[in-house]
Symmetry: C2
DNA sequence: GTCTATACCCGGATAGAC
DNA sequence: GTCTATCCGGGTATAGAC
């Protein structure tokens, strides 16, 4: 019955990551104590510090193991589009789908914690915590560069600055879309149809409508009072 | 020289609120200690507990004093629209402007802390903290009811569920719009033009484009793999 | 009514035994 | 690799000064 090499039970570390991810979603980073995490993971308090070094480093690792994979898939989807197009300009809707659709697919995966993670990620973009923001910016640098470049090429008539802002707005909409699938939000009691299956087409319509909207006109004079006029 | 009634120096309480608001924006709720707040406000540690009862109650009061006024203005703007229309259906763009434009105007006020507050509010919609969410939901109940009703009337051909979701998406976009005016976000280094004056038209174009987008089609079969096809 | 000093318990981090 | 003991800083409650 002796197996040649029993894999050296790489358990504790992963159990801590899973427990932390779930608890962070439910309570937030700060309200989740290391004692909560380790007790849920069946580990000792000091195990977090041993395996990760600090609570902050644990948070970072929770994101890293998921985000790296998500952004890899996003880049792969974009590269597939570009290969299929063979040099021709891409359709903006495809690009948007490669970025946001991939994320929503992960959010739809309730079996392996993808949904849990995306809820966490969505609200973390605006985290005040400096090290979290710094880390996210680094993790996203390449993907943003590539997707923005693709959109610039797909929408040559739209000023780049405008595309940049609209991409930013789209990320906000997605963040709230994911958060909104979980009740207990501002619209609690209003949503009759929170079917995750339908979220993707709903969000995609909205995002593309916003991305393709007529360009804004900037009036040189202050526009104060513009709303008051009938 | 004896004045009739010297107003009994209602200072400490307000100084604490101002200090808390500023520190919450910079560090977040949890990372801001009561000792930081009271020392910045020139007050004793126990003053928070005396004036507000707890840190949570202080957070709540920071929001209440600003949010009540913002939502009052929103409702006033909506009522003005309805009075001017005299029973005729409202233009969706006007409704959107009454809600989001009013908020952005507050965000543009850097003199009296409006900007500071809106940054804080934007990221708080998705707070995991249960009591904060609960409180926001109550503060927003009436405004949401009224604005959604107005949009239902203005867009009779759009399913209400769809309007609801799109309103939710719009709030996400606005939240990120405000957060994006402060550098140090994901897009740090990308924005060349973060002029707050231009943010309003930019965001409005996007929101209206999304709101008026063609309705999504829900396929009955699972759409898995739809993106992979060329 | 307003404010202060202080004591309490909980949470994160670390050292060192095993 | 894991656990125990301990330290320091955070929120909170209270007693009492003004």
């Amino acid at each position: 019955m002796s197996q040649p090499v029993r894999p050296p039970a790489p358990e504790t570390r992963d159990r801590i990551l899973d427990a932390a991810e779930a608890l962070f979603v439910e309570h937030g980073f700060e309200a989740t104590s290391m004692r909560m995490i380790t007790s849920q993971a069946g580990a000792n308090i000091a195990a977090v510090n041993y395996h990760f070094g600090s609570k902050d480093a644990l948070i970072q690792e929770v994101f890293r193991r998921r985000l790296t994979e998500l952004n890899r898939q996003r880049l792969a989807a974009l590269e597939r589009l570009q290969a299929d197009a063979g040099g021709a300009p891409l359709k903006p809707s495809r690009i948007v789908d490669a970025f946001f659709g991939t994320a929503l697919e992960l959010a739809a995966d309730t079996e392996h914690g993808g949904h849990t993670f995306m809820r966490l990620l969505g609200r973390t973009y605006t985290e005040p915590n400096a090290f979290v923001r710094q880390f996210l910016a680094e993790e996203y640098a390449e993907v943003l560069e590539r997707f923005l470049g693709a959109l610039y090429g797909a929408l040559p008539d739209v000023p780049r600055e405008e595309i940049l802002w609209r991409f930013h707005f789209m990320m906000g909409a997605m963040s709230y879309a994911i958060a909104g699938t979980d009740g207990l939000q501002l619209f609690a009691g209003h949503f009759d149809d929170a079917d995750p299956q339908r979220l993707m087409p709903r969000l995609m319509s909205f995002l593309l409508g916003g991305l393709r909207a007529p360009l804004p006109e900037f009036s040189e004079v202050a526009r104060k009072g513009g709303r008051e006029a009938a």
